[in-house]
Symmetry: C2
């Protein structure tokens, strides 16, 4: 039986572990799979490890004797009601009644995990676990225990005994070549579009060497001297006839060169992917936009793997800033909560905190913001309750790196990223970083409240309020009505960039007057340094959408993302500079094929279309309440779905008609009409100036006739 | 080629790792090998893990091109002068001149380690390592690096490529049965004395089950229902004829019961041990004492293994209080520095500190004291320099657990051990714990100075001074002139125990008047609760020796340790109560064979004889200066050696003659004589009242004739 990838529902047994440890182990494994021309290329930051010795515990009250089977990753000590059970049993009989069952499991190589299955006793998310059980026996033989830090176990979708955490693999499916071309004595295989997985050699015979030169572009695969990834394989004649290579790569093309002593029939591949349902949908009256959404969704899917990674060729790492965007896109495409949790945990690791997440100051801060969004979209509080202590240690690390002015300023080892942008000032006190810190403090204040840490909540909220005030005192230019970029040695520098200005918009930190000033003087001002990465385009376009510039933004999307499609992109890129020519589009980091042509941050139209054109977003946690504020942006019609925790908001909007149906929560539909709108159900409230709102109850179809402005 | 166990000398290559990580990995493996009747019994405290991803680096300046072979535990990324070398090379050519070589190694399962061997480029203790290299590439392809916490690598004695850290094994040698007895259908094998290792079955044939019931005593091995350790082995007929069992145990006896379908010729064992040279020696005119020293040395050797453990049957764990005594005994027997280092590291683990060492308050404090002694006896500063940050985080943990009075008082999860003693008060503020904290603060102040942390040195010394003053203010009874035991809610309790009083003696915290009062009113007072563990007898007898009561102490040793020998002990026990009868001696923790009959803390005569009868101890670090103050304690003569870092102090002392020869440092011989002493070399200074001293230069034989008091 293969893995299902469905989270356990607690009614059945599942493999359990110390929370976060599977994710940390898997992320270590995954990230070190990056290679450059056969050289392993591990991350530059600290790796943590699972706790090798943990104790799982449950208390049960069962109506009859239960035969309980035990499966374990690692050796274990079993105590039933405090009494050690001798041997290393494969099953145990638990008598009727109340019992306390503990497994202390040791596994240095992978991670300690158990799967326990009886009629009543089942390992699931209700068990607790500790990494120091402090259970000792005094000289009289009496057991003593105190100070044990019990927390809920971690689990995911390992719902059968055979389905061990240590043997985790993504799903695979066969994928055939689309085109084959002779290149010297070898071949160039085109798989039709960007893909990820393992090359298969079918009908392989003989001994000798074979080289695989991978390319996201044709040029790269043909350039055996400079392509970023390759594999040299030696066959001794004992290989299977249907050979699947054991190293995964990202590519559309592969050049195969084999010794004459080797023969094979054909080359195909095994596509490796995380099975995810496309719960979000988008169609519109503009086919180009539909293509952009489709390629965005494909890009997002390719980069949604064991974790949300940046790019599938390079780096194959988990970067907090990139992942933050993946979370947001995920809420409008897959709404896969486990992927968000896994990624947040992998990024955070364990204690002690000795550096920023990914060593980048802004990336620590996105991590907090990601947790807030996770709560807002999913309504899940258990993640925060379990990981609040790790939120706190990271926040204390960040706060400990403030300078005497109370601002974040890079200390040794702190990388300030912000964006890839020529000559961008990153030293001293940068307004952008302070703004993210305010937002992070707000996020941890909410989290402290959820975790029941009321004193922390007050303290963090006050820090947020004070810092926000100071941010405006120092960086907001009252004359120019814009946010300045940098403050050095007590002097505000005369630089304005888009970063803090655009975040201030959708963080809602500006009043209406400020917003308009920022829009005109910064966002739409050609004299301000342009943003060239899809990464920051994400936020720039979000800010413009938040200001109601949907039509303008659609043009930008057609131009920018459409520009990549015109160049033949089958997934969206790490960077796109419309003024580049030919192979310049492939180069980055001083290398001819350094650029990643499938990068998560390239998929932002998914998010923009869902949140700012369908206009769907949660107002309270988990879509208990939400807003639907459709905006055509000049299109004739848009139609699709936005996923919610247990269903979706289905929407159609044309210039004359709005149709909404949702599966949960209470929505407010907000729209403008030049005529008095009519509805088949519910009641429309006029708000004046042609604005209307209407309450959306779940599982009812609403059909409104109106006339768009 | 087998392992040599000789520390690397830096002139040749050796396997290197992140400091402490091998020790943590090995201690995890070792401590989980404890079993009780086939049940795994892991420690009750938190396990740490090696860092799975570390970067090793060296800078070389070589006169000619060097062919360098690379051996690695784990995959690696190799950079030479910042340039990534493609592939995963097995060797590399380094050109003549200056070069920076970095290996980033990933190993999740064991620990990252490398061995690099060229003519000039060799991996050794001079390399540095980091667990977060923070080496990133900006968008232009330029490498950036800052904030990397480089520290010196760890190494031990893995001096050949094949001798991998992951394959570490202690040495073994065959050991034959001394006596065989028929027990029902089976046999009882007596190996003659306490031993440790693997049972061998010679000439084994057939299929079936075989049971091994181990016993440190005959009674235990015969009691298949209650013996503490056993192994059930199933043979399918495919086992080797000469079968060595794969689980190690401690025993003198083993009862073997096999199915009739199994045949074998004989049972022997493979003794497993750490090869150590007995550098200390002791002989005297009293054969009982000679036997006691020999059995102490054997006990000490059996418990000196991968680490200094408490007992070889049970717990096979590393306990800081027990280890503290092993360090001290080691300085008078093996003087094996790597064993002390390994044990200190294993006890400390990594950060964060979330509980006391072994969860015991006093055991955190012994850890600091152990480091101070290590420095004093060996003169080594590199250990402190490398591990000072971990000293600091543990001390901050301890200081963070003081109450409002500034005293240590147990918080939830803090186990106060002190000693196994009936009804011993351990709640509230106990003087003993405060005294250990003062000593620990003194130890870390010295260490801070060595580590170059001058501000820390001042701060810790002040904390030590202030706490010492407070200790005396609160606990010293000015009227009774004794140290009280306990302080609860502002009231000193009317309890006096030996603990703080005896430690105050050899810590030299009392003045002469106080010492005499403590001696008479506490140490020699029969109304004060008696000490029954060899553990605290160690310190009690040390205090009496420090007060000059060598003759009294010898009688105690003859009685107590001699008492165990009379009962047939071949190694010394965890606990000995002279009033117990028969099998009562074997019981503990409510189990009939719960007591460990080979326990490190039973070996203290080694330490007492060396330090207080030979009277040899370092005065300044590493025996640069030392004292020799022989004391016959009523014996006719004593003769032997006390090891020093690079040699020994050889001494003979009778009532008429003292002979001293040493290999290093400058000693002061101190003795008393009723006649004017004469020497063959050097010059004797009279100090008055029959007391004399004389300087001992290295490598000269001194022969003094005198007349003992």
């Amino acid at each position: 039986m293969g893995k299902t990838f469905l989270p356990n529902n607690s009614a059945t047994s599942t493999w359990i572990w110390y929370p976060g440890d599977f994710e940390i182990w898997l992320s270590n494994k995954m990230q070190v799979r990056r290679t450059e021309r056969e050289a392993v290329f591990p991350p530059l930051w600290k790796y943590y490890s699972p706790d090798p010795l943990v104790t799982f515990q449950t208390e049960v009250d069962i109506p009859e004797q239960d035969e309980v089977k035990i499966y374990s990753e690692g050796t274990f000590q079993l105590l039933v009601d405090g009494i050690q059970i001798y041997g290393l049993p494969k099953s145990i009989t638990i008598p009727a009644g109340k019992h306390k069952i503990s497994f202390k499991v040791y596994n240095q190589e992978v991670l300690p995990a158990i799967y326990v299955e009886g009629k009543y006793v089942k390992s699931n998310a209700n068990w607790i676990v500790t990494n120091e059980d402090k259970l000792w026996i005094d000289e009289t033989g009496k057991a003593q225990q105190s100070g044990t830090p019990w927390i809920p176990v971690g689990s995911w979708s390992f719902n059968s005994p055979k389905d061990k955490p240590s043997e985790f693999r993504l799903a695979t499916k066969p994928w055939n070549a689309k085109k084959i071309e002779k290149i010297g004595d070898g071949k160039l295989i085109d798989f039709g579009k960007e893909t990820f997985g393992y090359i298969k050699i079918n009908g392989l015979k003989g001994k000798g060497n074979l080289a695989l030169y991978y390319g996201e572009s044709r040029e790269e695969a043909l350039d055996s001297e400079k392509c970023e990834t390759l594999d040299y394989i030696h066959f001794d004649g004992n290989q299977p006839k249907e050979y699947t290579h054991n190293k995964s790569k990202a590519f559309r093309y592969v050049q195969v060169q084999a010794d004459a002593t080797l023969e094979y029939d054909s080359i195909s591949m095994l596509h490796e992917y995380l099975p995810l349902e496309y719960r979000g949908e988008f169609k519109s009256s503009d086919d180009l936009l539909n293509d952009i959404w489709d390629v965005s969704a494909y890009t997002m899917h390719l980069t949604s793997r064991e974790f949300f990674i940046d790019g599938i060729k390079r780096d194959r790492w988990i970067w907090s800033g990139d992942a933050y965007q993946s979370y947001l896109m995920n809420y409008y495409l897959f709404f896969d909560s486990p992927s968000v949790e896994r990624t947040l945990i992998a990024l955070r690791g364990k204690d002690p905190v000795t550096a920023h997440v990914n060593t980048i100051m802004d990336y620590s801060l996105y991590w907090f913001m990601g947790i807030y969004d996770y709560y807002l979209y999913t309504g899940d509080t258990s993640f925060i309750k379990t990981f609040y202590p790790r939120m706190k240690t990271l926040m204390e690390f960040c706060l400990g790196r403030r300078n005497k002015n109370g601002f974040l300023e890079p200390l040794e080892g702190d990388w300030v990223f912000i964006d890839w942008a020529d000559g961008l000032a990153k030293t001293g006190e940068v307004s952008f970083e302070q703004m993210l810190l305010v937002r992070s403090l707000e996020a941890i204040a909410v989290s402290a409240d959820i975790a029941g840490e009321n004193e922390d909540q007050k303290q963090y909220q006050k820090l947020a309020d004070d810092l926000k005030e100071k941010l405006f005192d120092v960086f907001w230019d009252k004359e120019a009505q814009v946010m300045k970029h940098q403050y050095i040695d007590g002097d505000v520098q005369d630089t304005v960039t888009k970063y803090a200005n655009m975040f201030g918009i959708f963080f809602d930190y500006f009043d209406e007057v400020q917003k308009q000033s920022v829009k005109n003087k910064v966002l739409l001002n050609d004299n301000i340094q342009k943003i060239t990465t899809p990464y920051m385009r994400f936020f720039e376009l979000e800010a413009l959408c938040a200001l109601g510039e949907q039509e303008f933004v659609l043009d930008e999307i057609r131009d920018y993302w459409g520009g990549m499609l015109k160049l033949g992109a089958t997934s969206f890129w790490e960077l796109y500079n419309p003024s580049d020519k030919g192979e310049e589009h492939l180069a980055m980091y001083g290398r001819p094929y350094g650029k990643s042509l499938c990068h998560a941050w390239g998929a932002s139209p998914i998010y923009l279309f869902g949140k700012y054109y369908f206009g769907v977003k949660p107002i309270s946690a988990g879509y208990k309440t939400y807003e639907v504020k459709p905006n055509l942006g000049g299109l004739q019609w848009i139609e699709g779905k936005v996923p919610t925790p247990n269903g979706s908001v289905d929407i159609y909007c044309s210039t004359k008609e709005i149709k909404v149906k949702s599966s949960e929560g209470v929505g407010i539909l907000i729209f403008k009409s030049t005529t008095k709108p009519l509805t088949n159900s519910g009641s429309i409230t006029a708000l004046g100036e042609g604005k209307y709102e209407m309450k959306i109850e779940p599982n009812k179809g609403y059909q409104i006739t109106y006339k768009a402005l």
